[in-house]
């Protein structure tokens, strides 16, 4: 995707409107574009009113789970007895997803504004923006924008001159996919290993530092100022298919496509159009083979399923997959599904926090079996073994990392079984695996 970003006519640009516009990164540039009006409006309301508007909008969590954002906020104690916290999840690490990075790079004040509104709504004094350690550029840009926001009186002990305290700090991660899981993220902020916690208790009751906490994704929070500015009903009206999925969504498209990048479309947009029209389709002379619609943790779609899939929470469910984080990985007919699924499994094996046996052993074992198949040493019973193993890895652990490893394996074997069998029966030549370090 080239910058400055020229949106496709079929895109609906709210979040991505200023991608590529360097001036929008500054406080003055942001205010000139209408920034911080929503925060001003929100601060003049009661926190409960802000929550009602977000509830009405139908905004759902953009990090992957799709949980209604306003409802999540309403779980926070109404009567504040102890400090409350907001955590902004900017640990974007789901393979195929790179939308939060662009939001932070181009519209840092948009994110800060969204955080400040949410923070006010849930009555928190402090927000921690947890940014993955590798995102050095977004980190620098957010820190710069935060410094400006403090300097201009947006944040601090007297935020926007209202006498309310709104503090916001960056917390840098240090290389751990699992810290994108909300309870692991909170542990990481506390200076612990990023192991997910058993729930209940849920974060709204016992969150970071044992205090009431809400964790929201970057894209979710960045959507909030638009909702405050234009109303919940307006946001709700942005829906092409199922009324339960509202607003716009950034889809990160990567893999075998002519024009990879971030595309913002209204919920319910046809997946086929996104790949073939907006992204220009797969490379010349190739045909579409498969697509992962929601980041690597969701079941893989074959061509027919992908081309008839509606991009919203329900549309993806209908096809047996999930909208997840909106990271689309496109595979053309040159892709070796066995190798790429092995590569996904290796990601999960590497990122397992190793707390739960099913995950620690299961992910590693899965990789070994897949590598054995790729080396031409697989047996026909290996596929059943993988499926059995995947079942043992689903719904049995503290978090869903091992479920995420199982999803592409089960769907991959189901839909591309022939490719696995070709390695096993010797009709496909063994493929060496790049040595891991």
């Amino acid at each position: 995707m080239g910058f400055p970003h020229t949106p496709h006519p079929k895109e609906t640009v709210l979040l991505s409107r200023y991608f590529g516009d360097a001036e929008a990164r500054t406080y003055d540039g942001w205010v000139k574009r209408g920034g911080y009006q929503a925060l001003e409006q929100a601060l003049a309301m009661e926190p409960a009113q802000v929550i009602e508007i977000v509830k009405e909008s139908g905004l759902r969590g953009r990090g992957g789970a799709g949980f209604p954002a306003g409802l999540k906020w309403s779980f926070m104690p109404k009567e504040k007895k102890r400090p409350h916290y907001l955590c902004c999840n900017a640990d974007e690490s789901e393979p195929g997803t790179f939308k939060d990075r662009e939001i932070m790079r181009w519209t840092p004040h948009g994110l800060i504004e969204g955080c400040a509104i949410a923070q006010y709504a849930i009555q928190a004094e402090v927000t921690y923006i947890y940014i993955r350690g590798e995102f050095t550029e977004p980190l620098r840009i957010i820190e710069q924008a935060l410094a400006e926001a403090y300097q201009r009186g947006v944040l601090g002990a007297n935020a926007m001159g209202t006498g309310k305290r709104l503090d916001m700090y960056v917390h840098r991660g240090a290389g751990a996919y699992i810290c994108g899981e909300e309870t692991a993220l909170m542990n990481s902020i506390e200076g612990k290993r990023g192991n997910p916690r058993i729930r209940p208790p849920f974060p709204a009751a016992f969150g970071v530092f044992g205090l009431p906490t809400t964790v929201n994704n970057v894209e979710t929070l960045a959507s909030v100022p638009h909702i405050i500015n234009r109303g919940g009903a307006w946001y709700r009206s942005l829906s092409l298919s199922n009324p339960k999925s509202t607003g716009t969504k950034l889809f990160s498209v990567c893999g075998n496509v002519k024009r990879p990048g971030n595309y913002e479309v209204t919920m319910g947009f046809p997946l086929g159009d996104l790949i073939h029209e907006l992204c220009g389709g797969v490379p010349a002379g190739r045909t579409l083979k498969a697509c992962v619609p929601g980041g690597s943790s969701v079941p893989i779609l074959n061509r027919e399923e992908a081309e008839s899939c509606k991009l919203d929470y329900e549309g993806c469910m209908e096809k047996g997959t999930m909208l997840g984080s909106g990271g689309l990985i496109v595979f053309d007919d040159s892709a070796d599904m066995v190798y790429q699924i092995m590569r996904l499994a290796r990601f999960y094996a590497h990122e397992s926090c190793a707390q739960c046996t099913q995950c620690r052993e299961g992910t590693a074992w899965t990789v070994r079996i897949l590598q054995r198949i790729l080396a031409g040493e697989g047996e026909s019973k290996d596929l059943d073994l993988l499926l059995d193993l995947s079942e043992q890895m689903t719904g049995k652990t503290i978090c869903v990392l091992s479920d995420s490893c199982a999803a592409p394996i089960v769907s991959g074997i189901k839909k591309f079984r022939g490719e696995f069998e070709a390695y096993i029966n010797g009709t496909r030549r063994p493929r060496p695996v790049l040595a891991h370090a």
Binding site: M1, P95, E190, G191, Q340
Partner: protein, 164 residues
């Protein structure tokens, strides 16, 4: 701990002040552990056992606890690395776009014998990493703190020339 050479503390005057500022952001001292470890790595290039003991002392933790955290996070170096630490993403989306070719080119042009090794001249350490979060700009490569997008096997020699 068997100190043989004199250890120069990381958290002396100026850095101690920086850390004190960071501590104000959190209700507990332990919460400053990740930021403190980043400060050590920025100052020394890696985090030694001595440094872990110092961090433990400063934050009121035990050295074993600090080590437990250091070993959990892949970005903290427990050993010295080359002058330029090179991380290349090879997870599925980048893999589909030729990331393994980038790895081979990086190994060849840096003189690193294998992934994780440092080149004989001490200039480069090349490692393969899982998803750098820039899948639409395959293949992303990090050199030190620089994040470089759309690297191809062909563009590797020119890229490395910028990191002598």
């Amino acid at each position: 701990m068997h100190p043989t050479a004199a250890y120069e503390p990381v958290f002396s005057a100026e850095r101690k002040q920086q850390l004190d500022e960071i501590l104000k952001r959190y209700p507990t001292k332990r919460a400053a552990l990740l930021p403190a470890l980043w400060m050590v790595q920025q100052a020394r290039g890696w985090i030694s056992d001595h440094a872990m003991a110092e961090v433990a002392e400063v934050l009121g933790l035990t050295p074993a606890y600090v080590k437990g955290v250091v070993t959990f996070y892949t970005m903290y170096h427990q050993h010295p690395v080359g002058k330029h630490f090179v991380q290349v993403c090879t997870t599925t989306p980048c893999n589909l776009c030729g990331a393994e070719g980038v790895v081979k080119a990086l190994l060849e042009h840096t003189g690193c014998k294998e992934l994780g090794a440092t080149s004989p001249d001490g200039k480069y350490t090349v490692v393969e990493v899982e998803c750098l979060g820039a899948c639409g700009f395959a293949t992303p490569v990090m050199i030190g703190d620089d994040f470089i997008e759309s690297v191809t096997a062909e563009s590797v020699p020119e890229l490395l020339r910028r990191y002598p």
